[in-house]
């Protein structure tokens, strides 16, 4: 057992864990941060993606004891950070995923959203191939990735104040306007 002092979602947290525990195990089963998912536990799927020093890495291959002081962001950290920075509601990427229907079973999505967040942090206007490449370490079995790419493009379009590209099923329209966050009674 080793006492770890981790820097998770802006908090310093202390806990005890054996050296052979991965960061994913510590997040999920010691800290109760179960938003980080496990789909393969050996680096093949990306469900366990978290940001370490802002970079997307795999929690299932990271030894918790090696994380030291490095800041770690999990999916649970995005909305609080957005609120603390003066925003409203969830992170715009999270909101866009929701509005575009990108979350089917949702199991791949914490990792997917964090990969997308890291992409937009380093490149505010990625092209579609760049978006696909940045997500290519996160497997999704439900969506065929289309609505995920649409969500990221919606977040980009809104950050630039332009209309997003319409989906095939609603040509010439922006169907996601209707799905914008809660307009009571709408």
């Amino acid at each position: 057992m080793r006492v770890l002092s981790l820097h998770v979602n802006g908090d310093r947290v202390e806990l005890a864990a054996p050296d052979h525990w991965t960061l994913l195990e510590v997040l999920r089963y010691r800290l109760g941060l179960t938003g980080s998912k496990q789909g393969c536990d050996k680096g093949d799927c990306g469900a366990c993606t978290v940001l370490v020093e802002g970079q997307p890495v795999l929690g299932c291959l990271t030894l918790a004891a090696s994380c030291g002081e490095k800041p770690i962001t999990t999916i649970e950290g995005l909305m609080p950070a957005h609120l603390a920075a003066g925003g409203t509601g969830p992170d715009p990427v999270q909101a866009a995923f929701d509005r575009c229907g990108a979350l089917q079973c949702g199991f791949c999505q914490p990792g997917m959203i964090l990969s997308a967040r890291a992409l937009l942090n380093r490149n505010a206007q990625p092209t579609r191939p760049e978006i696909r490449a940045a997500l290519s370490g996160n497997l999704c079995r439900c969506t065929g990735y289309t609505q995920i790419v649409q969500a990221i493009e919606l977040a980009i379009a809104e950050s630039l104040g332009v209309e997003p590209c319409a989906p095939a099923w609603a040509p010439g329209t922006n169907p996601w306007k209707l799905a914008a966050p809660a307009e009571p009674g709408a």
């Binding site: 080793r2 054996p18 050296d19 052979h20 525990w21 991965t22 994913l24 195990e25 496990q38 393969c40 536990d41 050996k42 680096g43 093949d44 990306g46 993606t49 970079q55 997307p56 890495v57 795999l58 299932c60 291959l61 990271t62 030894l63 004891a65 090696s66 030291g68 990969s115 490449a133 940045a134 997500l135 290519s136 370490g137």
Partner: protein, 339 residues
């Protein structure tokens, strides 16, 4: 969860400390850098070290610098992503930058290091599996067993070198600086790899500190070609690094072709490279040389059913990838990859 076996983690801060730990624990220790190879391998109980020595905090292994003569010195801890993005590497050693940029997927490239890639364990479909799986068929030559499932009756392990940077570094005549109990030494990368699939390296118990890429001439061209099923994540089913150094008149003054994901040792395809000498890209001569290089390379490459993927198909792809990668090098494009 797929649990890791128990071990103690040591996190030395200096090279000397790390070396001392290696000496102290000997066979019971394993070095780890990014962990993207060792951690899955430990989960598969291929390695069950008592002590895992993390190199992550060793400052001497960090950084990329360019020496006065143009040589690049790449710290062993340089991540593959950093390598792929580094302007100096892209300009002076494009094959290496391209190979690094095609390793695994985006997250793994941010974790995995150059040192770990050079020192990557060989791979085999009968080996990179869980304990249960391997036990179900009585284990194999490389680990815990005595039979080879690739070559019936084979006495020599034929697990394949599967590290994308190895052929690129071979083509660049890279040198490796190791630090061991006896201090530092520098070896040519050709001297590192051996043909033994169980452990395909000649160096044990030493730490790779840096990789030196000698200065490349002004006319240097390089590219990397990678065959794999998916456009991301997958290990190579075949990797080809091509180097063409063009002289002032545009003819090929020197050439190298190297391949990986065939057998335990990354290969130099010397004969295939030689036919390019003196030809000029864009001419019919060069085109003919490409064809010949492909055919000669195919003669030298014998993919086995060691890694997943149809071995006959992999063999069929040797000339195609050799030609396409050489062409990409000549054009200053690349990588050769289906997405």
């Amino acid at each position: 969860m797929l649990r890791l076996p128990q071990f103690e983690l040591a996190q030395p801060r200096t090279l000397d400390e790390a070396c001392a730990l290696l000496v102290e624990h000997g066979e019971e220790a394993q070095l780890v850098a990014g962990g993207t190879d060792l951690v899955p391998n430990m989960k598969h109980e291929l390695f069950t070290p008592k002590v895992v020595i993390s190199l992550a905090k060793v400052a001497e292994l960090r950084g990329v610098r360019q020496e006065a003569d143009g040589a690049l010195v790449l710290g062993a801890l340089t991540t593959l992503e950093a390598l792929a993005q580094d302007e100096r590497v892209r300009a002076r050693a494009p094959a290496l930058a391209q190979a690094a940029g095609l390793v695994a997927g985006p997250q793994l490239r941010r974790m995995g290091t150059l040192g770990g890639n050079v020192m990557l364990d060989t791979r085999c479909q009968w080996y990179n599996q869980t304990y249960f799986w391997r036990q179900a068929l009585g284990f194999c030559l490389k680990k815990d067993g005595s039979a080879c499932h690739v070559v019936a009756g084979g006495a020599k392990c034929v697990a394949a070198a599967s590290n994308d940077t190895a052929p690129a570094l071979l083509s660049l005549d890279a040198e490796l600086v190791f630090h061991g109990p006896a201090g530092a030494r520098r070896i040519a990368i050709d001297a590192l790899y051996s043909a033994d699939g169980i452990y395909n390296k000649t160096v044990r118990g030493e730490i790779l500190v840096e990789v030196r890429v000698p200065a490349t001439p002004a006319g240097h061209r390089g590219a990397y070609g990678k065959l794999r099923e998916r456009g991301s994540i997958d290990f190579p089913l075949l990797g080809i690094a091509a180097r063409l150094d063009l002289s002032a008149d545009g003819t090929v003054a020197s050439a190298a072709l190297c391949a990986v994901a065939l057998q335990a040792r990354p290969l130099r395809l010397k004969k295939a490279a030689e036919v390019l000498l003196g030809t000029r890209p864009g001419t019919a001569d060069f085109e003919a040389a490409l064809q010949e290089a492909g055919a000669l390379a195919q003669k030298q490459c014998h993919p086995l059913d060691n890694i997943p993927g149809d071995a006959d198909y992999r063999r069929e792809m040797v000339p195609v990838y050799v030609r396409r990668t050489l062409l990409a090098a000549a054009e200053g494009s690349g990588p050769v990859h289906h997405v």
